[in-house]
């Protein structure tokens, strides 16, 4: 693992979904087992480029997600390596029984890509806004669950997914996100990235929340508070070692996710801490609400996910150290 931090809160010059597509096109050149299965949403993530490059290994399953998942499992049973994409709501809820049994329990390597995580679904509104997708996949005992942050990370992790032997789920932001990492950065599944070393509080974030946390840390430092930041791109398996190490140093934790807090990154972190190192934790994310329609920036405010929210949570956590 090696990375450079950009983190200047500027828009990523490349669409995040192209990180997935670019990695796929490169991998499919050498590995003829890899296929992409879409559910009539290829155009949304530029997977039409995969279709152009490898028409014989691109399959549109139509608007039929449950079937697509089952087909992916069957292909995996023959030794193929299927990636299956739909919006997160459908890759999660609509195809979940298939994902759990035909994928997870049967132990076939299906790599599920769920796009438009949480508030990034924005104008597509409540019915298209997944705050529970990763949580569903966390319930599959041996699934790998990833919430990636930007183009470079998505590219790197897609290349690692292909080596996994069981089912994996990756949340895929489409575009208009902030760049966090410099070109050539590399990541390992299950290994968090320590982006800042602090002493007062540890912020554990992923996806779009990594940039919000970086902003929060700048604000905190103006108040003389020093925060650690872990980019926990892999929720499962959780990098407990890094989490406990930083929690030990700082004495309190804030989790920050673009997801329901009762079944996501925050709850994974809380379980680890309560078992191994009970400490105050504050939860940033969606506290048991449905999705709704609007610009992403308004939604981030509405669900309490902004840099200011993270900062206030950090202050509360520090307060609770007693």
């Amino acid at each position: 693992m090696s990375y450079t931090l950009i983190g200047n809160h500027q828009k990523d010059p490349r669409a995040n979904c192209d990180g997935y597509v670019d990695a796929m096109i490169e991998m499919m050149k050498d590995d003829k087992r890899i296929v992409h299965i879409d559910c009539d949403l290829a155009a949304c993530i530029n997977a039409t480029r995969i279709q152009k490059a490898y028409p014989e290994r691109f399959f549109n399953a139509g608007i039929a997600e449950a079937n697509a998942m089952g087909v992916a499992a069957g292909m995996a049973a023959t030794g193929m390596i299927p990636f299956m994409h739909s919006f997160g709501v459908f890759a999660g809820r609509r195809a979940f029984d298939q994902a759990f049994l035909a994928g997870g329990y049967s132990h076939w390597p299906i790599h599920v890509i769920g796009s438009d995580p949480g508030v990034t679904a924005a104008f597509n509104g409540a019915t298209h806004m997944p705050f529970e997708d990763a949580g569903l996949y966390l319930t599959i005992p041996d699934a790998v669950v990833i919430d990636s942050a930007d183009y470079v990370q998505t590219y790197a992790l897609t290349k690692k997914l292909v080596k996994q032997e069981g089912i994996t789920y990756m949340r895929l932001i489409r575009k208009d996100h902030k760049q966090v990492y410099g070109d050539g950065s590399d990541f390992e599944i299950g290994k968090g990235v320590l982006l800042k070393q602090g002493s007062d509080v540890t912020i554990v974030a992923s996806g779009i929340m990594v940039n919000n946390a970086l902003e929060a840390i700048e604000k905190l430092s103006l108040e003389g508070i020093s925060a650690s930041l872990i980019d926990m791109h892999t929720w499962k398996p959780l990098d407990e070692k890094l989490l406990l190490e930083q929690a030990q140093i700082t004495g309190c934790v804030v989790s920050a996710e673009n997801h329901l807090v009762n079944c996501g990154l925050g709850s994974m972190v809380a379980q680890c801490l309560s078992e191994k190192l009970p400490l105050p934790q504050e939860f940033i994310g969606n506290h048991s609400r449905y999705g709704k329609c609007g610009p992403q920036s308004d939604l981030e405010k509405d669900y309490g996910m902004t840099a200011e929210d993270i900062m206030e949570a950090a202050l509360r956590a520090i307060d609770r150290k007693g």
């Binding site: 879409d38 009539d40 949403l41 290829a42 155009a43 949304c44 039409t48 549109n60 399953a61 139509g62 608007i63 039929a64 449950a66 079937n67 709501v89 459908f90 609509r94 104008f123 597509n124 509104g125 409540a126 019915t127 298209h128 709704k292 329609c293 609007g294 610009p295 308004d298 939604l299 509405d302």
Partner: protein, 284 residues
């Protein structure tokens, strides 16, 4: 039979729906123009002539229901509901704004006149079947109209609902299949084909099937509804429509979701306005 004069009026209503739908989507700048336009004529006929409803009492027990299982065509329904008296139509010029009452996918919790929440394709049809069954149990004679996309018909749930509806002979359920030949990634032929066609499929599932050769013709639609009425089986109207119908740029592109430039918007709105003017003049 509906008189010719009434048909002209309904055609005018359909054009008003088209213009307002464009204005609603224009307020956001982008959206599902194609799939909204292909059902404008059927909506005009339903709300202008066929359906029993009261905008003052949207939850009236014995109303006819209209379910947009292809929920992304919300703007067309908002235009129709607005023009039918549910709310001032310009309130819908807030499409997808934060806290709007008009999200692009229809939601019964936030929009007056929307009967059921849709957006996850396939779900509206099953719910509509449930409404037909619930009504029958309560001796309510209302009809339930459900719009289904031809891409949407890829979903297994569509066929689960089709078998359920036929099994329970829910004759008050009328499915309007918007057979516009296109889904999101391209034509249905390329993305996921329908074997011998959606009509043949519904027939195999035990439905009364009526093919409407021009599903954008009020006259043909009216004749088809007339025939549906006498059936003891649930009826599927296979509407052969054009995605983007009436908006030249959209007919040409066949786009699912479009983000037209300012110039293109101007052209589309002008075209729709002029057409409406001409129709009004001819009606005089």
């Amino acid at each position: 039979m509906i008189e010719d004069k009434r048909i002209r009026e309904l055609e005018l209503f359909a054009q008003e729906i088209r213009l307002e739908t464009l204005k609603i989507i224009h307020s956001r700048g982008n959206g599902h123009i194609g799939g909204s336009m292909s059902i404008a004529d059927a909506l005009a006929l339903l709300y202008g002539e066929i359906m029993h409803y009261d905008p003052k009492e949207p939850l009236m027990k014995d109303r006819d229901w209209c379910v947009l299982s292809k929920g992304h065509a919300g703007p067309a329904l908002y235009a129709t509901l607005g023009l039918s008296g549910y709310f001032p139509v310009n309130e819908a010029y807030t499409l997808n704004d934060f806290n709007t009452r008009f999200p692009s996918h229809t939601d019964h919790l936030i929009t007056k006149g929307v009967d059921l929440t849709t957006g996850s394709l396939g779900q509206g049809f099953s719910q509509a079947a449930g409404v037909a069954l619930g009504n029958r149990l309560q001796s309510i004679e209302s009809d339930v109209y459900v719009f289904i996309g031809d891409g949407e018909a890829d979903e297994g749930q569509i066929w689960e609902a089709a078998q359920f509806t036929a099994h329970y002979k829910l004759k008050h359920l009328i499915a309007l299949i918007d057979n516009n030949g296109r889904q999101l990634d391209g034509s249905c032929e390329e993305v996921m084909s329908h074997g011998k066609g959606l009509g043949a499929k519904f027939e195999a599932f035990g439905w009364n099937v009526i093919e409407v050769q021009d599903g954008n013709s009020i006259k043909e639609l009216a004749a088809a509804f007339e025939k549906a009425r006498s059936s003891e089986l649930p009826t599927a109207l296979i509407l052969h429509t054009i995605k983007g119908k009436g908006v030249s740029l959209m007919e040409k592109s066949g786009a699912h979701s479009a983000k037209p430039s300012a110039a293109e918007w101007e052209q589309m709105l002008k075209e729709a306005e002029e057409k409406l003017m001409t129709m009004k003049e001819q009606a005089l």
